[in-house]
């Protein structure tokens, strides 16, 4: 039984005087113990909303959440989406915790870092006073913040961007959660710091055996960190595969386009970038067909027969069908040798 089984997760925001918006429409995926799973997609594909729904952090009013998210980390099987708020409050921080995108705005500006770390220790581990401060310093030290005792007394604005994100990570791992959700943890940081933070996450995951759900739009992050990858488009998973398979042999035209759009250092000078045309707003409702159809190079009228199912990727010629490679497409792409080269 996986640690987390998300099945047909749907999140709908009530429109204010307008039509409702479905941000996530039937996303399913699993996360095993200690596994790093990526949720990948461009802005607006529903990946952040998925993470907030799992944590129970969506607003109570005006949001409808459907589907199930069965979590087995406590020894019993609970559905995170229907759990009482108070019970969820007990799970958050200990079982599930989250790292956010913008470390500056995610830290309380008028409360010292130390208090923001110790409050989670006193809430879940009952540590108080000097013991809590000592543990907080140890945590900061562990995430690579130099001079932790001094930093505890400082405020978020006195820390650098990288250190703020490290402090947030320290809070998230303070109670050794079973599942860590990281929502674009490196987007607000510059490239060298990004690499350090990813390295740190990798270490923590390996040390604690924590499972990591990595939400990102950055395929570089996926390539470096994730065991398995789910590609989201317009609120649905369109492809799910092992990291190596996904990069070597993307089956969905969208994944294919994403990989093809990565600029290459060794490309000839002056060569044009290769973006996916249109934007995520150029889409049709899933009920009418594949939402990606208006942007797809492989579009045929067959694509308009309702949402294609997320099914095993069909076998490629003589080869046996690959295991655990799912794709939601009427006619998946068979990557040529050249494209495989590009993605490497």
């Amino acid at each position: 039984m996986p640690l987390l089984t998300v099945d047909e997760l749907t999140v709908t925001f009530a429109g204010r005087g307008g039509p409702d918006t479905t941000a996530v429409s039937g996303v399913s995926f699993t996360v095993d113990q200690g596994e790093v799973v990526g949720l990948v997609g461009e802005s607006g594909c529903g990946k952040s909303v998925t993470s907030l729904a799992l944590m129970g952090l969506l607003p109570a009013k005006g949001v409808t959440v459907g589907g199930t998210a069965r979590y087995t980390g406590t020894g019993t099987d609970v559905d995170l989406l229907t759990l009482r708020r108070s019970a969820l409050r007990d799970l958050r921080g200990t079982q599930l915790s989250m790292i956010f995108q913008d470390p500056l705005s995610s830290l309380n500006p008028v409360v010292p870092i130390g208090v923001q770390v110790t409050e989670i220790l006193s809430r879940h581990r009952g540590l108080r006073g000097a013991a809590a401060r000592k543990e907080a310093a140890a945590l900061l030290d562990r995430v690579g913040i130099p001079d932790p005792t001094r930093r505890l007394k400082e405020y978020p604005h006195q820390l650098s961007g990288g250190m703020r994100q490290r402090a947030l990570i320290a809070m998230a791992v303070a109670c050794a959660p079973r599942l860590l959700i990281a929502d674009e943890p490196t987007t607000a940081l510059d490239v060298t710091i990004q690499a350090q933070i990813l390295e740190l996450l990798r270490e923590l995951v390996d040390d604690q055996g924590t499972a990591l759900l990595m939400i990102t739009h950055d395929l570089g992050v996926v390539a470096g960190l994730c065991d398995r990858v789910n590609v989201l488009y317009a609120g649905k998973a369109v492809e799910a595969a092992d990291r190596h398979r996904l990069f070597a042999d993307p089956a969905h035209p969208y994944t294919h386009g994403l990989l093809g759009s990565i600029p290459r250092l060794d490309a000839p000078r002056g060569e044009r970038l290769n973006p996916i045309r249109g934007s995520i707003n150029d889409r049709i409702a899933w009920e009418d067909g594949c939402a990606f159809a208006p942007r797809c190079d492989f579009y045929t009228p067959q694509c308009l027969g309702g949402a294609p199912p997320l099914a095993d990727r069909p076998a490629d010629g003589a080869a046996a069908p690959p295991e655990g490679h799912l794709v939601r497409c009427v006619h998946p792409v068979h990557t040529t040798a050249e494209a495989t080269e590009v993605s490497r």
């Binding site: 921080g93 809430r123 809070m171």
Partner: protein, 334 residues
């Protein structure tokens, strides 16, 4: 911190100097004067001259200003034209009443306003929110003196629940130490005197509180709504903290920052509101004394009192800045 205070106090000097010049020029431009006010309409030209000469009002304005300034640097504010007593004494005698009233009003505004604004924000769109928002609009619109009259008519005159005027009932035997009657009663153990003074504070306090209360409700509500949408509140929730901690440490603490500034500014404006409220309730503070001084063109009193109020205003703002730098580390001066 000390440098900030010293710098602000030094800045005060040119401010007050400029204010005194403007004030002096303006007051002496007003039609009429102490002489006609003291003597009435039927005074002869001769009598008027005599008084003006005695008060030095026949000299050019700048000579009068220089004379006033010369006494001021020796901390001599002159004597009231009307009562003949030193301005400083008159001020000290009345000031506690006004402070007591302003404090009562601000206490009501803060104690009622902040929770009301907070819950209006948390229950946005409910009847509580609508009542708070529309009630605060009414609070801002109703003139203070009008509200004072209504409150007095209903609760003092008709229902007889509370006293209708003054600071203390006439029959009360109270020892005066600080001039703050409620405090004096507590200090001397004369509970009845304290209680009586407190009752006298309720209606004028409510009338005076109406505007700051309305403003505080609005500001708190808007600020809490802002903060509720902040990322750090979501972070706090994601840590599974208890509701009490999320609300107190993460929501309220941040939401109160703009409220503190507002309270400071409002405290200054309470002093001007006090002029009207004190008149309605015959409260005997500096407000009603200023009104009488305007009627009689009591120049020394007006100059002295208005400068005191200006000084007070600046002092309050300095206090607010200091308080702000304590509660918001981002503006802390090192």
């Amino acid at each position: 911190m000390l440098r900030l205070i010293v710098r602000r106090l030094l800045q005060l000097i040119p401010t007050l100097l400029g204010l005194s010049v403007l004030l002096f020029a303006w007051l002496h431009q007003l039609p009429g004067g102490p002489a006609s006010a003291l003597l009435g309409e039927r005074a002869t030209e001769e009598d008027r001259r005599a008084i003006e000469e005695a008060l030095g009002l026949d000299d050019p304005v700048w000579v009068q200003y220089a004379r006033w300034m010369e006494r001021l640097v020796r901390f001599d504010f002159g004597e009231s034209v009307r009562t003949g007593r030193p301005v400083w004494e008159e001020f000290l005698q009345r000031f506690p009443a006004t402070v007591e009233l302003a404090f009562a009003a601000m206490l009501i505004a803060v104690v009622v306003g902040i929770p009301l604004g907070y819950f209006a924000a948390r229950r946005r769109g409910t009847w509580l929110d609508l009542t708070a928002v529309s009630g605060s609009l009414i609070g801002i619109c109703i003139p203070v003196f009008f509200l004072g009259f209504i409150l007095r008519a209903v609760f003092a005159v008709n229902l007889g629940w509370l006293p209708s005027f003054g600071r203390q009932s006439t029959g009360i035997d109270a020892t005066e130490i600080t001039g703050f009657y409620v405090l004096d009663g507590l200090l001397t153990g004369e509970w009845d005197a304290s209680w009586d003074a407190l009752q006298h504070l309720v209606l004028p306090g409510l009338a005076l509180a109406s505007i700051p209360l309305a403003v505080i409700v609005r500001i708190t509500r808007a600020s809490v709504l802002d903060v509720l949408g902040e990322d750090y509140v979501r972070t706090a929730e994601s840590k599974g903290l208890r509701r009490r901690v999320v609300r107190g440490r993460h929501v309220l603490r941040n939401a109160l920052l703009p409220v503190v500034t507002t309270v400071g500014l409002l405290t200054g404006s309470l002093l001007s509101g006090a002029v009207l409220t004190e008149s309605v309730f015959a409260f005997g503070g500096i407000g009603s004394f200023i009104r009488d001084a305007i009627d009689t063109r009591d120049y020394p009193v007006l100059m002295g009192f208005i400068l005191f109020i200006a000084l007070l205003y600046v002092a309050i703002n300095l206090l607010v800045d200091i308080a702000y730098s304590i509660i918001d580390p981002r503006v802390r001066v090192n």
